[in-house]
Symmetry: C2
């Protein structure tokens, strides 16, 4: 296949009926998955323009730059998209912590194996399960 | 917080209006993100029962076990959930390849930096961008 012909742009992705596409945010070097949030074409354009992650808040109906109040911004290293062009994978360098709970990653609780082990080990050390 | 009181079960997650929750599938050791698919409470229960990933296909309106036709199954190692309980992170050991295109991961195309670099390096070696 021809690379140029195959290459997709912002308007080519499969946004859902609300105009959104999920973005998996991953720390570029440790490959830790930090969070999942939603972009629309405008927030994706802002992300590309600024090199920081911008999302659309479904609950607040507004654009937000990750870290705009906390300072915990995400510098964008790479943006990949999947085979059916309906999900983004954004590799970032996370300043501070990704989660509003002050955990390094939003994925700090475990369903399986059952939670009685108490903590999850990650690159930043043990994170309490709650 | 009390671990037992905080621990969530299958019915406690925030499914969307169609009863679905996105599941990010990550190779447990390399931490490569392989794909994103959707579960409902029933497919999550099947996943926990069988130790293999089960999803709900939005396009075909049916349950499917990853690899049921290709043999490229995913052995579940760990299931995490995020701070607002509306996304799952499933760590698996992927047999063969995750993508129907035969790429190791569904995320084999790049939006940024621009695609003229031609290939993306990953653990399995270079994957053509198309």
């Amino acid at each position: 296949m021809d690379l140029e012909r195959d290459a997709l742009g912002i308007e080519d992705f499969k946004y859902d009926s609300a105009g959104l596409i999920p973005a998996v945010i991953q720390q570029f070097d440790s490959r830790e998955v930090l969070m999942v949030a939603y972009m629309n074409s405008e927030s994706l354009a802002k992300t590309l323009e600024t090199g920081k992650t911008w999302f659309w808040s479904r609950s607040r109906s507004k654009y937000w730059m990750k870290g705009e109040s906390s300072g915990h911004t995400q510098d964008v290293k790479e943006i990949l998209y999947d085979c059916d062009a309906d999900t983004l994978l954004v590799l970032v360098d996370q300043t501070g912590v990704a989660c509003h709970t002050q955990a390094r990653t939003c994925f700090y609780r475990r369903l399986y194996p059952s939670a009685d082990a108490g903590t999850i080990e990650n690159d930043e050390g043990d994170i309490p399960l709650s």
